[in-house]
């Protein structure tokens, strides 16, 4: 089940509308942009899987420091290589859309920030997260001492059961306190 040639059937369209938070125009636009990424041969195959490098050429993802994690999280491939089918792409857009609920967004945000995929945000995850946020250059990166202090402060503030990691509920608790999260966790094609 997936996209066949270049047109999306009406049934498929309404089905996607029911299962995701996207409107019809957004789904059609997503389809158009996705097919632009396919090569000529791949266009005829149903259910093609686009490798991560091509997905990352999209301007909406190109400069995002979390782009590799985003592809990894939404990918359903067995090889865990970050390749996306059209439906994975729709999942991505649906989680990042305007009408997605806070719960969906926080769930996926947690998975994106969980760099080692172990289900919790421990010190290593937090360190990688902060490095992604502050960028590549040396003057913006935090020193080791600052990083240690920062991670201690974060764990002190958000780790309520004191197990040294931030699990999903604690993460959602922190997120629910910030009203700007929903508006900043958005990607629009």
């Amino acid at each position: 089940m997936g996209t066949t040639a270049s047109q999306l059937g009406k049934d498929l369209l309404s089905e996607y509308q029911e299962l995701t938070f996207l409107t019809k125009q957004e789904i059609l636009l997503a389809h158009k942009r996705f097919t632009e990424l396919l090569t000529k041969d791949e266009k005829d195959l149903p259910n093609t899987r686009v490798p991560a490098e091509r997905i990352l050429t999209l301007p909406e993802l190109k400069s995002n420091p979390f782009r590799k994690r985003i592809c990894h999280v939404f990918s359903t491939s067995e090889q865990k290589d970050g390749s996306l089918t059209f439906e994975d792409f729709l999942d991505l857009l649906s989680a990042f859309s305007d009408s997605a609920t806070l719960e969906i967004k926080s769930h996926y945000a947690f998975r994106i920030f969980d760099f080692d995929d172990d289900g919790t945000l421990d010190c290593g995850d937090l360190e990688k997260l902060v490095n992604c946020l502050t960028g590549e250059t040396d003057e913006t990166r935090l020193t080791t001492e600052e990083m240690r202090q920062l991670i201690n402060n974060i764990l002190e503030e958000s780790d309520i059961d004191k197990d040294g990691t931030v699990n999903l509920s604690e993460f959602q608790h922190v997120i629910s306190r910030s009203p700007d999260f929903v508006s900043s966790f958005k990607i629009v094609l």
Binding site: M1, D11, S14, E15, Q17, E18, L19, T20, F21, K24, Q25, P59, S63, N64, P65, F66, T76, E87, D88, L90, S94, F96, T101, H107, Y108, F113, G119, T120, L126, V130, L133, T134, G135, R141, L142, E146, Q149, L150, I154, E157, S158, I160, D161, D163, N167, L168, S169, F171, Q172, H173, V174, S176, R177, P179, D180, S183, S184, K186, I187, V188
Partner: protein, 776 residues
């Protein structure tokens, strides 16, 4: 088509993705597919219970214990071996369609796992217990039409590409200004439609007799609004004070004869008649009322989204986890955002880890003096400007040259706009002198001072305009048109000088690397000021919303190009939701409330001018409505109830007082509830911490005992831990339930948070975790 989809969901799940039921609850911290399905099975079960009404007790057999009455869910084909997935699918099938769609969308599984298969399955009649076939098709049809309506609305979205470009480069903060502009555009569009359809159009189709000596069109009218425009449908004075009838004109080109409300004439038309004064009065009233409702609704929605009970603690965690703006896509902007976040993190770290230095008494006094001086400067300059406007408006330049007299009408608007432009700069200097620590306090103080200035200026102007000139309503309308236009021209000049030339200056002369920052608060306040003028003027100039629409349209493109060329995003952290709520509140309270109070006072108590306009012979404008009700009562005595209701509800202020009193009581009650919940949350947090400590203590103790005596201690461990976790879980659940009655979203977070924190803390005692979850 949707019911069958869910049925095939289970087949798809079973066939294509053999999910191993994760025995280790810790994998993805309970977020494996199996755990998600379990969670959503529980949720659908709760939803089904809630949706079904309680059956009567007598329908149950005597032996059925109350706790196991499943409210009719025994009809489910619950086979013992049916897996959780099938039970979830079963639950989903039995929900109503909208609930099902909402649940499906909300599940954090991929589309591939939720997708339908292509084969159609026929639905047996028993699959739809509640609806007949016809009702089913009607519901499906209604949902399709609702989706098509939503799609149509979505396709009408204005400026999608432009907004995306702006947000891609500057982020959500600057975007909020443009979204605010779009909101104002829709308000004005609505006003324009209403006034255009009910006031302008009928009057344009039936033009009244015009006085002789109308001036011809010269270009100055576009600026002053007077001259040729003063006898057009644009202003109040043009509107007729009689009932418009169609037939008299068709009979041999006889001029439209004026009727006063009482007398009859021989050419009574059989066609529809249109009572102009009544239409004028009611249109303005209804338009304001609907605008009020829309404003209050959007304000409460925005407030609900941005209000947070407990703000203090997790600043750093919030900064790290929530502050990345995924909308920004331009590479340089991403780099800039990274730099900003890095700077803010370093500042926050320094602040959090530093001991707060207490100011000495001398320093406190000094700061107080500086604040006092700044406020004196601001208030003094505001008063000086207001007095200047007062004296300036008193003087009138009279000259022989008509053109010059007309042009001198522009003097007052120019002065006011100049003051509005320059004085905020002075306020900024004063704020720079005061040197506030927190940027949000600084923003609020700036907003406060600007508001003070604008309110006093507008208040003075309102006082100045009322009842001075003959046909003063048209004059006021023209003045407001001029003010609006001048405001627009000065905004253009400010964009040109403040942004474009300043950027050139700072790059070439000051050799700064960075472009000037786009001041969101100041620009939004200017928009609000313009909108206040538009709302004040609708009563006197029914076409003013159209002028405002054109102005906002042009302003959007000009500001967008200016921002893209000249500015950069704000460096200080900008709290978007909070500021948007503040701006909508400012739009509602001083702006709209002030305008509607002025309009209400004008309609209620001020005598309309006797030479022009639709309320010529009446004592107040309100009399138009009253007279109509009296006429209705005269014609039809059965409607006296309506007349009496009208006189009690509308004229008697007692009703308004009672309504306002009830409103205040409800608000007080809700604020007390919120306070109580705040206390409960802190108590629960303490208890969870204590529980974690207790568990750690117990485990270490028991492990030490276990070291000494092997086998019996193991059983003891699991039992003790189980009873601890079970009992405390019960306690927390009961506490959480009391919250859930009062505030569902918060309670669901707290509830699930407690549940999951116990799931994870039970890792050390794997034997008890399953038992603990069964307790829940």
């Amino acid at each position: 088509h949707c019911c069958l989809g869910v049925k095939t969901l289970s087949m798809k799940l079973n066939a294509a993705h053999p999910i191993s039921e994760q025995s280790d609850p810790l994998s993805l911290s309970g977020r494996s597919r199996g755990a998600i399905i379990s969670q959503y099975y529980n949720r659908t079960m709760q939803l089904r219970r809630r949706r079904q009404s309680r059956p009567a007790i007598r329908d149950f057999s005597r032996s059925a214990r109350p706790s196991i009455r499943g409210y009719g869910m025994e009809v489910d084909s619950t086979d013992a071996e049916v897996s959780k997935r099938d039970r979830l699918v079963n639950n989903l099938q039995n929900l109503s369609v909208s609930d099902r769609v909402r649940m499906l969308r909300g599940m954090p599984l991929s589309v591939a796992e939720k997708t339908l298969q292509k084969e159609k399955h026929t639905l047996s009649g028993s699959q739809i217990p509640c609806c007949s076939q016809l009702k089913y098709y009607i519901i499906i049809g209604a949902r399709h039409s609702w989706y098509s309506w939503l799609n149509f609305l979505h396709s009408l979205q204005l400026w999608q590409v432009a907004l995306k470009t702006v947000s891609g480069r500057f982020g959500t903060g600057v975007l909020s200004y443009f979204l605010f502009l779009k909101t104002l555009l829709f308000f004005n569009f609505f006003l324009f439609l209403v006034t255009g359809a009910f006031m302008v159009l009928p009057q344009a189709v039936h033009p009244p007799v015009l006085p002789a000596g109308r001036s011809s069109f010269s270009g100055l009218e576009l600026l002053t609004g007077a001259g040729y425009f003063s006898d057009t449908v644009m202003y109040y004075g043009y509107y007729s004070n009689y009932t418009l009838r169609k037939s008299c004109r068709d009979d041999g080109g006889v001029q439209n004869v004026s009727l006063s409300n009482g007398t009859r004439l021989d050419c009574v038309s059989k066609h529809l008649s249109y009572n102009m004064p009544l239409a004028y009065f009611f249109t303005i009233g209804v338009a304001f009322f609907i605008t009020c409702i829309i404003l209050v609704y959007s304000m409460s929605k925005s407030f609900g989204q941005s209000f947070r009970i407990d703000k203090s603690h997790s600043i750093l965690a919030m900064k790290v986890l929530c502050s990345w703006d995924f909308k920004v896509i331009k590479k340089t902007s991403v780099k800039l955002m990274s730099e900003n976040i890095s700077t803010q993190l370093k500042e926050l770290l320094a602040e959090v880890n530093q001991k707060h230095v207490k100011n000495t008494a001398c320093q406190k006094l000094w700061r107080l003096m500086v604040h006092g001086l700044a406020w004196t400067i601001c208030i003094g300059s505001t008063t000086a400007c207001v007095l200047a406007i007062y004296y300036f408006s008193g003087s009138r330049i009279a000259d022989n040259n008509l053109l010059l007299t007309e042009a001198s009408l522009l003097a007052l608007p120019v002065v006011v706009s100049l003051i509005n432009l320059l004085l905020p700069g002075l306020f900024n200097l004063a704020a720079w002198m005061e040197d506030y620590e927190s940027p949000s306090v600084r923003t609020y103080v700036a907003i406060c001072r600007n508001l003070m200035l604008k309110v006093s200026v507008l208040g003075l102007l309102c006082y100045h305009w009322l009842g001075r000139v003959a046909c003063w309503e048209s004059f006021v309308g023209q003045e407001l048109y001029r003010f609006l236009l001048m405001d627009f021209i000065f905004t253009l000049l400010d964009t040109l000088f403040g942004e474009f030339l300043w950027r050139l200056f700072s790059e070439k002369v000051l050799k700064r690397r960075r472009k000037p920052v786009f001041d969101i608060a100041r620009n939004v306040l200017e928009l609000i000021y313009g909108q206040t003028l538009a709302w004040l003027g609708v009563l006197f100039t029914p076409l003013l919303p159209a002028v405002q629409i054109i102005k906002l349209f042009l302003l959007f493109y000009i500001k967008k190009s200016s921002v893209m060329m000249n500015c950069q995003a704000p460096r200080k952290p900008y709290r978007v939701s909070q500021m948007t709520t503040v701006f909508i509140t400012l739009l509602c309270f001083p702006s709209f409330l002030g305008a509607s109070v002025c309009v209400t006072i004008t309609m209620w108590s001020i005598t309309p001018s006797s030479s022009c306009g639709p309320f010529r012979e009446l004592k107040t404008m309100f009399q138009a409505g009253k007279r109509w009700v009296e006429e209705l009562e005269k014609d039809n005595p059965n409607l006296s109830v309506l007349a009496r209701a009208h006189s009690y509800l509308v004229e008697n202020p007692f009703f308004l007082f009672v309504g306002a009193g009830i409103f205040l009581i409800v608000i007080y009650f809700h604020s007390q509830v919120v306070d109580g919940q705040r206390k409960i949350i802190s108590l629960l947090q303490e208890q969870i911490e204590n529980e974690g400590e207790d568990k750690k203590f117990l485990i270490t103790r028991l492990q030490s005992i276990h070291e000494k005596k092997r086998t019996p201690a193991r059983r003891l461990t699991s039992q003790v831990s189980l009873c601890c976790s079970g009992a405390l879980q019960q306690l927390f659940l009961s506490k959480a339930k009391t919250i859930s009655i009062t505030w569902p979203p918060l309670s669901s977070y707290v509830f699930f948070f407690i549940y999951f924190s116990f799931r994870t803390s039970a890792v050390e005692i794997p034997t008890s975790s399953r038992q603990a979850s069964s307790v829940l």
